[in-house]
């Protein structure tokens, strides 16, 4: 690559194509020995948005409501299946829990899965199940295992070379269990290059992709110019070539181009019309959905937006389950429905796979699953006298709801079923995590036996490369 002498003119003329060339010429390699398979020709999606309901979202109080029992003092806990009434959705005969009406109205554009069965990992720890959901492997593992976003980033690369291919919005690692959550927000053996680009707070997202705080555009440009001039004036050519130096120069160049590029505006939520912004602005999660939408317009590959997992917060309802879910639903209902509508309006829904999921569900009585109960963590009185005990407070792994939209997914479809009486467990079409992952890979055209040889053994996207996509989910 020749270095243009006039850097400003170079930048002015830098188009996405030039940048693509810049990225393509890069011998980015690591110690991986082999991959396999090419991307299949008939792909259904280019982009994935994962809407993560961290903390365990109770299916009977959200997307799979059962018989409603209103709160009364002295009620029997075992009678309570749902703490909200049901409301109709756009699919005939399919109901959601009250508070999710907006999402209900867009269900004609997607599929509800009611039969996700989480793994049995014993005495429950949220972050272990989240690790399992995001990597498809049960922790701990003998090697550092990649997040699904990293696999996708590695296999497909960025959609747009200046937008990092794996963006994680909304999760901070400074909260409780942060270290455990961090353990799966990694590209693992795929190499740091494919790790998550972290935007803990979407309202401050722009700060991640613009010149340092307090630095003007002009100064930023001058700084970069100085850097390049010092390299040329110095001893750059003296020591021959090596990958450390080449990769350093190349990635500094890429970072500069990203920070200068119009794409950076995708991270700037203030550019959004007020009325739209307001619909999304239900908090950090809602704004995360807005950012995800804006990023899809600039070419993003994998984005996760989380309600954020923090022990005993958000969906992690060890008490006051009913009351707190009112708030949680307000946070997610409007933005998610708007996201789907916006994607459809801009014509991007067809090529964007949107998934809503949680590590497991909740139930008032059962911890774990009915035939394999595990150590209880929540005291649940048999007779409820206090509203704080009214809600789904135990961790339930045998029937969880997921939503999928776009990316070739059937529209107005229901997949799987849970029992109508306690235990409200999966009774039809159970779907496990490797099937979920393989279905996502299927939509993207990543072959099911994709693997790398790591420490001389094959390491697959899903354990042993055995998982298969659920083709019934696709139209």
């Amino acid at each position: 690559m020749n270095r243009p002498t006039d850097r400003r003119r170079f930048l002015k003329n830098t188009s996405a194509a030039t940048i693509a060339a810049l990225a393509a010429g890069a011998p980015m390699t690591n110690f991986l020995l082999s991959s396999c398979g090419k991307r299949k020709p008939d792909t259904k999606a280019d982009t994935v948005i994962l809407l993560w309901m961290g903390g365990g979202m109770a299916h009977t109080d959200t997307f799979d409501p059962k018989r409603y029992t209103p709160f009364t003092k002295g009620m029997k806990a075992n009678d309570v299946l749902s703490t909200f009434p049901s409301i109709p959705t756009a699919i005939d005969g399919v109901h959601f829990s009250e508070g999710l009406g907006s999402i209900g109205k867009v269900m004609d554009k997607g599929t509800i899965i009611r039969s996700y069965v989480a793994a049995d990992l014993g005495f429950i720890l949220h972050s272990r199940h989240q690790y399992h959901w995001h990597t498809c492997y049960k922790p701990p593992q003998t090697v550092s295992v990649p997040h699904i976003g990293s696999w996708i980033a590695k296999e497909l690369g960025p959609m747009n070379p200046v937008i990092p291919p794996f963006i994680s919005i909304g999760q901070r690692f400074t909260v409780g269990e942060g270290e455990e959550v961090k353990a799966f927000h990694t590209a693992g053996f795929l190499g740091n290059e494919y790790g998550p680009f972290l935007i803990p707070d979407p309202s401050a997202g722009l700060e991640s992709v613009r010149p340092p705080v307090g630095m003007s555009e002009l100064r930023f440009e001058k700084r970069n110019q100085l850097y390049n001039e010092l390299i040329s004036a110095g001893a750059a050519g003296e020591f021959g070539s090596d990958y450390q130096k080449e990769s350093l120069r190349r990635s500094m160049e890429q970072a500069y181009i990203l920070l200068k590029s119009p794409e950076a505006a995708a991270f700037d939520l203030s550019k959004e019309p007020k009325e739209i912004y307001d619909i999304y602005n239900t908090g950090r999660f809602g704004l995360g959905c807005l950012m995800a939408r804006r990023l899809t317009e600039r070419g993003a590959r994998f984005i996760s937006v989380t309600t954020e997992y923090e022990p005993f917060m958000n969906w992690d309802t060890h008490d006051h389950g009913h009351t707190r879910l009112v708030d949680m639903k307000k946070q997610i209902d409007g933005p998610i429905a708007q996201l789907i509508k916006d994607l459809e309006r801009t014509g991007r829904l067809d090529r964007t796979l949107v998934i809503l999921a949680s590590e497991f569900s909740r139930d008032m009585m059962v911890e774990g699953r009915p035939d394999l109960k595990v150590q209880e963590q929540v005291q649940q009185p048999d007779i409820i006298t206090d509203i704080k005990n009214y809600g789904m407070h135990r961790h339930f792994t045998d029937g969880c709801s997921m939503l999928m939209f776009g990316g070739g997914i059937k529209k107005g479809n229901v997949y799987g079923k849970t029992a109508d009486e306690r235990p409200c467990k999966t009774i039809e079409n159970p779907i496990m995590i490797d099937q979920v992952h393989q279905s996502i890979y299927h939509a993207l055209g990543i072959p099911p036996d994709t693997h790398y040889v790591i420490e001389k053994r094959p390491f697959y996207t899903t354990p042993d490369g055995k998982g298969l996509p659920v083709l019934d989910l696709f139209a």
Partner: protein, 833 residues
């Protein structure tokens, strides 16, 4: 004038014309067929393939004819007109003509089949050149006879001898292509491929001519060879883990049962053996096996062919023979090569021997500036200050480099703060991480720091980790997550995996789930080893499924001693610790010596450093160092001293085009491989020269210094004492959930973004700029000072001009900050040459 020789016969011209036409025709066909379109091996016309296969037949004619012609020429050197002359005059043209045909057929053959690479190119071009040389010799010989010129006669004879030489060279490469590169040399007892036990392999011609019956011993050896080929190439997909096409190749009954389409081998019948058809299909064919990875080598194909021909022997009891390379366990003390006038350091004596046998000459050693930067960063993790640099430059003592290394090693606190990161990676110790939250993990920092600072002998350090006391138990206790974990990841198994990886350079991870496909270790071995750490014997799980079987605690190598499986856990761990550090355990000492070497030299003698069964690029050097390290009291600091003061360490560095090039097995040592500063070194360098990156309040570990300690730096929060954060993660500090023995040093976009606009670096540079503005004021002084500190040199004229230009006459804090930023991101600053 001489008479025409008397071997004229009628029709000579006609024959000449016919031969010429035939040759021209073949060349034309070749040119049209194979240069017009890209090579399409699968569609080669049968006749061209047939012609190609005439090459091995015809090629022996010119070899014999030309060599005999040359031989006779030598006999007749003194008497040109010897009675042998007509014979030579007949042999040479015949040789040249058959050579021409061989060349043409050879060209056809090169397009059929899967020849390639350097050997083919050398063979092809020496073949063609030999043919042309032969022709020239023939022409000169005729000239000499006609004109009787001495000049022609001499040139003819010279050219003929060269032709003969060409025949030998081309022939050798041809044979290499046909029989494998080491076919010839492998029989030599001093060759590395020489295998005394393999009376079959090296000496056997895997051809159809061999009709002899195999002895039982030979059958066994043949079967082991076949099994090794299966294990290396096939069982990943045709084994217990994955049974593609319903076929398994990992045991006798499976091999002969065949797959979903029936048997794969028919004893004695190559044509009907499906396996032979599948491994010999042309490259790119969709039925070719292996379907992933490399095509089987010709040698491997020959072995399978021979095995089928011989009736597919698979004697019972052959399952326990070793397939994979297992490095010898015992220590070795090779005697040092001699010293020379300027080569006295034992490492250099070995390097000198290595260089002379690899025809590498000693380049000039690096200058003081490069050397000081290397040893400072390698020993203390700190960049030298301009004052330290100047005093080093001014020092005129001839042994100042050695003196300086000793001084740096004596800075115990700095040394410990630096090497702490290496050990933390290796022992996966950190201040934060998974497991702590539920009490399932323990930190060993205090113990570790003190062990490094006091230079605890390596054998003792290991013993205290394996058979720990409270402060050092974190390594062996592993990481325990709440809930039920995979059987291969229970803490006892983690201990087995980590002890074998860290201390023995052995990967037991595969073996803790099932019998390994990449080594000869068995599932039971891993459980027997893990049992040492278990309160009660562990039930063997195969791929996380209980088998109902149990084993007894024992060492992986029984030569290393016994474990009393009836004793309690504490006793067993103590026995293990004693056994591991025994001097007889050469592998243990080789592993650490190799790790330290890799740390200083950018690449181990063995790579990857966790796979000590791989071959080192110099076995003697590794063995000698390991043995003398052990005999010298397992002193890590002395090991570093020995390496860092060697001329070998002072060689100019070598750059690698990709990170992969470091670990290739064809690696040849020529000097240190260029390194990039680690995140900690970068952070500490910025802290030392501009402004502390981390305040003391972020220190997760605060060492208590000896009273006599005089800090050589004005900040306390070395990056190894703080928690991992965005900044350090971006610069390659790993999460220490698993053992890490090599860090990623390649830059990437996420890292560049952190450096470009990350808060940590930019705010520190800003704060530093404010101080520099007050302290130095003038642009010129600031530029010179930052160049002195960062690059240990004066700025060049052009650099001075650019930098001062950016600062202006009265530099603003912002401008100074931006200069800092530009300098610390220079490759020259970050790369250790």
């Amino acid at each position: 004038m001489m008479d025409e020789p008397k071997y004229n016969f009628r029709g000579r011209k006609l024959i000449a014309v016919c031969i010429s036409l035939l040759l021209a025709g073949l060349i034309a066909v070749y040119l049209i067929e194979f240069t017009r379109q890209p090579e399409q091996v699968t569609s080669t016309f049968w006749l061209w393939r047939f012609l190609g296969r005439l090459h091995p037949l015809t090629v022996h004619f010119p070899i014999v004819l030309i060599l005999i012609a040359a031989l006779l020429e030598i006999f007749t050197w003194r008497a040109y007109r010897s009675p042998l002359r007509p014979a030579i005059d007949l042999l040479l043209p015949a040789g040249v003509i058959t050579a021409a045909f061989s060349v043409v057929f050879g060209l056809f053959l090169s397009k059929d089949g899967d020849y390639g690479g350097d050997a083919l190119a050398v063979h092809q071009w020496t073949g063609i050149a030999t043919c042309l040389l032969g022709g020239t010799a023939w022409w000169l010989s005729r000239r000499a006879q006609k004109k009787s010129e001495n000049v022609s006669l001499n040139s003819y004879r010279t050219i003929l001898l060269f032709t003969a030489l060409g025949v030998i060279i081309a022939g050798h490469y041809g044979a290499s292509l046909a029989h494998g590169k080491d076919y010839l040399t492998a029989t030599l007892p001093w060759s590395s491929d020489f295998d005394q036990s393999a009376s079959l392999g090296a000496g056997t011609d895997f051809s159809d001519k061999d009709t002899a019956h195999l002895t039982p011993k030979q059958e066994l050896e043949l079967q082991v060879k076949v099994r090794a080929i299966f294990a290396h190439n096939c069982t990943k997909c045709h084994g217990p883990e994955k049974v593609k096409g319903d076929l398994r190749l990992d045991a006798k009954n499976f091999v002969f049962k065949g797959g979903e389409k029936g048997p794969i081998v028919v004893p004695g019948n190559i044509e009907k053996s499906e396996i032979f058809r599948r491994i010999t299909l042309p490259a790119g064919h969709k039925e070719l096996m292996p379907s992933e990875g490399k095509k089987l080598s010709e040698g491997d194909v020959a072995v399978i062919r021979y095995w089928i021909k011989k009736g597919t022997p698979w004697p019972d009891g052959s399952d326990n023979m070793q397939i994979f390379r297992l490095a010898p366990l015992a220590p070795r003390d090779p005697s040092l090569p001699p010293t020379t006038a300027d080569i006295t350091n034992p490492i250099d004596r070995w390097t000198n021997q290595y260089f002379s046998s690899n025809k590498i000459s000693w380049p000039a050693l690096v200058d003081d500036r490069t050397y000081l930067k290397r040893i400072s960063l390698d020993i203390t993790g700190l960049l030298p200050s301009p004052e330290e640099f100047n005093s080093f430059i001014k020092d005129v003592r001839p042994d100042k480099r050695t003196i300086r290394v000793r001084e740096l090693l004596n800075k115990k606190e700095d040394y410990a703060a630096h090497w702490l990161s290496f050990w933390n990676d290796l022992l996966r110790n950190d201040y934060t991480g998974t497991g702590y939250i539920t009490g399932g993990r323990f930190e060993i920092t205090d113990w570790l720091y003190k062990a490094i600072r006091s230079n605890m002998p390596y054998d003792r350090l290991t013993k205290e980790l394996i058979n720990p006391t409270e402060p050092s138990k974190g390594f062996i206790e592993g990481i325990k997550w709440r809930g039920v974990v995979n059987a291969s990841q229970r803490t006892e198994m983690q201990a087995a995996q980590n002890v074998s990886q860290v201390f023995l350079g052995l990967n037991l991870k595969c073996t803790s789930c099932h019998n390994s496909f990449i080594s000869d270790w068995k599932l039971e071995d891993a459980y027997a080893f893990a049992d040492i750490f278990a309160d009660s014997s562990l039930e063997i799980n195969r791929c996380d499924k209980p088998t109902g079987k149990y084993t007894h605690a024992r060492m992986l190598w029984k030569e290393l001693g016994d474990i009393d499986s009836n004793a309690n856990k504490k006793t067993r761990m103590s026995q293990l610790a004693d056994n591991i550090v025994k001097p007889e355990n050469g592998r243990f000492y080789r592993t650490i010596v190799n790790r330290v070497w890799a740390q200083l030299m950018g690449r181990g003698l063995v790579e990857p450093v966790d796979v000590m069964d791989n071959e080192p690029w110099d076995q003697d050097l590794l063995d000698w160092m390991a043995t003398h390290f052990q005999q010298g009291g397992s002193d890590l600091r002395e090991l570093i001293f020995l390496i860092a003061t060697s001329k070998t360490y002072q060689l100019p560095s070598v750059g690698m085009a990709t990170a992969n090039d470091i670990v290739t097995h064809t690696y040849q040592f020529k000097g240190m491989v260029k390194k990039r500063m680690t995140g900690e070194q970068f952070s500490d360098a910025v802290s030392k020269m501009i402004e502390p990156v981390y305040p003391d309040s972020l220190m997760m570990y605060k060492p208590i210094y000896d009273s006599g300690y005089l800090p050589s730096i004005l900040f306390r929060a070395r990056a190894s004492f703080v928690s991992n954060d965005h900044f350090l993660t971006a610069l390659g500090r790993p999460n220490r959930e698993t053992v890490t023995s090599r860090r990623e040093t390649q830059a990437n976009l996420l890292q560049a973004l952190e450096l470009t606009n990350g808060e940590r670096l930019n705010s520190i540079l800003h704060r530093g700029a404010e101080k520099w503005k007050r302290r130095y004021g003038k642009s010129d002084a600031i530029v010179r000072e930052i160049y002195h500190r960062a690059l240990l040199r004066e700025p060049k004229e052009k650099e001075l001009q650019v930098a001062i230009g950016s600062l202006g006459g009265d530099p603003s804090v912002d401008a100074i900050q931006d200069l800092f930023w530009s300098v610390v991101l220079l490759p020259e600053f970050q790369i250790i040459n």
